[in-house]
Amino acid sequence: MTGADGCGPDHCITCGDDGVPMTVVAVDPERGLALCGDGDGERHSVETALVDPVAAGDRLLVHAGTAIAALVEEPPR
């Protein structure tokens, strides 16, 4: 079984030191959670304490259900 934010034959979130780019869809500031969509259109509940404040439309890098960085997108140099 492979999920965008999970373990499976092709990767394991923790061994792969995986970071999944996601887009914030809605924010629940009281609970410190955001509903985020991944590239496959799946939605996930994500901890945002490490990158708060976040707003709908923000791009986050998510690892094990926690946003570890706000994504600053830049092309190859």
Binding site: M1, G3, D5, G6, C7, G8, P9, D10, H11, C12, I13, T14, C15, G16, D17, D18, G19, P21, G32, G39, S45, E47, A49, L50, L61, H63, A64, G65, T66, I68, A69, L71, V72, E73, E74, P75, P76, R77
Partner: protein
Amino acid sequence: MRFVDEFRDAELGRAVAAEILSLIEPGRHYKLMEVCGGHTHSIYKYGVDDLLPANVELVHGPGCPVCVIPMGRVDDGIALARTDGVIFTCFGDMMRVPGSEGSLLEAKAAGADVRMVYSPLDALRIAKQNPDREVVFFAIGFETTAPSTALTLKRARAEGVTNFSCMCNHVTIVPPVRALLESPDLRLDGFIGPGHVSTIVGGRPFEFIPADYGKPLVIAGFEPLDILQAIAMILRQLEAGRCGVENQYTRVVPYEGNLRALEVMAEVFELRPHFEWRGLGFISHSGLQLSEAYADLDAERRFQVPGVRVADPKACQCGEVLKGVIKPWECKVFGTACTPERPIGTCMVSSEGACAAYYNFGRFAREREVV
């Protein structure tokens, strides 16, 4: 996907490969270690090593948390999973790691309630849905994953969830790298630094590598172009006769790391005096346990665990693979007695383990060469 595809661009990749060729000194052999299992996986998946000159050798490091879990800890996990009333939760790959008497997956087949989760938050959700059961989360991972566990434990406390606890196996990246640098078996010229671990810890913890050992380290992203660029940056340092910590992955990694993550880790965890690493033995201050303030959420205090040290299987050479002393295919059981379907050693379990990554991707290129 935007800003992913660009980092897989074949033409740009070939341009960086040509730059790498121009940077190497003829007759010199370069041994570079990628510390992180994610890099190992990308290198084999995208054939990055095929683009490198023969005298630039990539050595795979110990940065796969599943691969470094010793058998005794798996046995402890299985003992917890078999405890009456417990729902045992862990990441998927962990379920297949062999302990001395089988894996968590086999314990599940024999009746233990073992469930795969994608995040510690999922494990907490299971605890809230099952208030009459005890839910244990088997936490593994380096500094990338530890803040997620810490935040979930804080959330459990804040929401008054009392049937949730954590068996903590989190490890830290610097002590094993230092142990490798001290190892007489291995001579390295530089390091490809871990990308997402550095998002949390930043670049400073690696500054001892150039300062004390005179080796460059370049923090790198996980796309093939990221890795090639990082190799070029390391070679540029070596060519200029300098060494330092540089950051190729600036689109994600701030040099100072994530201070909030470091704070929450400092609140919830403390360093263990020592922790056992498969193949590397005991390394001082290399593992995390729950701090006194969170002791009530520590599964190892809440339940009885055997805590017995178990030696690695004799046939398994994971330790030498993890130290980069031998290549996966040089292990005597690689691809025969030890396969991803029936792993003997941990490096064959996770697809980010050097053996499984090589088994899944690299061996075909090698078979072509042999034929």
